[in-house]
Symmetry: C2
Subunit: 200 residues, 2 copies
Amino acid sequence: MSTETTGRRRGRRPAGQDTRTALVDAARAVFAENGYDGATVRAIATRAGVDAAMVNHWFGSKEGLFAQAVLELPFSPHELLEALRDGPDDEFGERIVRTFVTRWDGAGGDTFQALVRSIASHEQAGHVLRDFFGKFFTTLISSVGADQVPLRTSLCASQMVGIGMIRYIAKFEPLASADVETLVHAVAPNVQRYLTGDLG
Amino acid sequence: MSTETTGRRRGRRPAGQDTRTALVDAARAVFAENGYDGATVRAIATRAGVDAAMVNHWFGSKEGLFAQAVLELPFSPHELLEALRDGPDDEFGERIVRTFVTRWDGAGGDTFQALVRSIASHEQAGHVLRDFFGKFFTTLISSVGADQVPLRTSLCASQMVGIGMIRYIAKFEPLASADVETLVHAVAPNVQRYLTGDLG
């Protein structure tokens, strides 16, 4: 069997992308009309003319759909989770720094700017981001078996959001132009301490 | 001699505060009319009806005046520098975390929100903040004698801006409600590594 017929990536054919696009458009409309809490997966799927199961397939959850349709994050939480999980626990900090900076860089900083603009302007966005990143990182950080997971999660968030602010928004040098591996060496040990170290 | 007549704090009498207020008002008008680069200390002092030396006395520089008049930071860079310098080098990270979080908390998070709004909305503010914090922290960090001062400076900025974003803007728990000393224990070793540690 060739990978072309058996590979899991077959799901990304144009017809699938149409479903995804229809869901993004419907989600923007429904979130705008009903707010985050009032918007249901069923209402969004109905508006898009697709089965509600497609939301889970493409976005994982309502949070994931919000993250991509409204906050315009260019990746699915699912993909990201896989990229971060795959490797030894003591290189977890390294994977977090490398993965986020590489993805943010790939979007030319737009992703990160959209994130900050959302947080700064909508109370709702702050709320959903908290929920979204809270659940996401709690799952992830629990997997290394550390105590104080919520504190570790919010400390990691502080370092990664700070890197984004300085690199893409305030543009302080040399951090703004440093290559990814320079940042990984400089920042990863700090993120690793937040994940598994002694927090005092 | 009593401290009342000899103390350096005598400069903070009401007449001095009037001068300071006049300079803040004049600075807002002149920055708005001429932009940051076009605004001169002399023009601001003339508009305020005071001697140009008063700008240095109250704000240290044009950057300091901008930081306080336009960004509404509630402290002078001068004061801050003194608070941070005073103590052993290996507790420098601790002083940075404690001083910034205490001051930001004291302003109920408004200071930090003003900072982010300025950075996110004005290209000019991003520029002056880079200059201002660049000079400020370069002076400070050079005093502990480390190499790679600009990289260390921007890394420290990333961590402190990130703490502000998570504590005051995104409000992720438990970081948003943690007491100052919990944050000092959790974050200071990371800031200390950025100041004096091996960055890879």
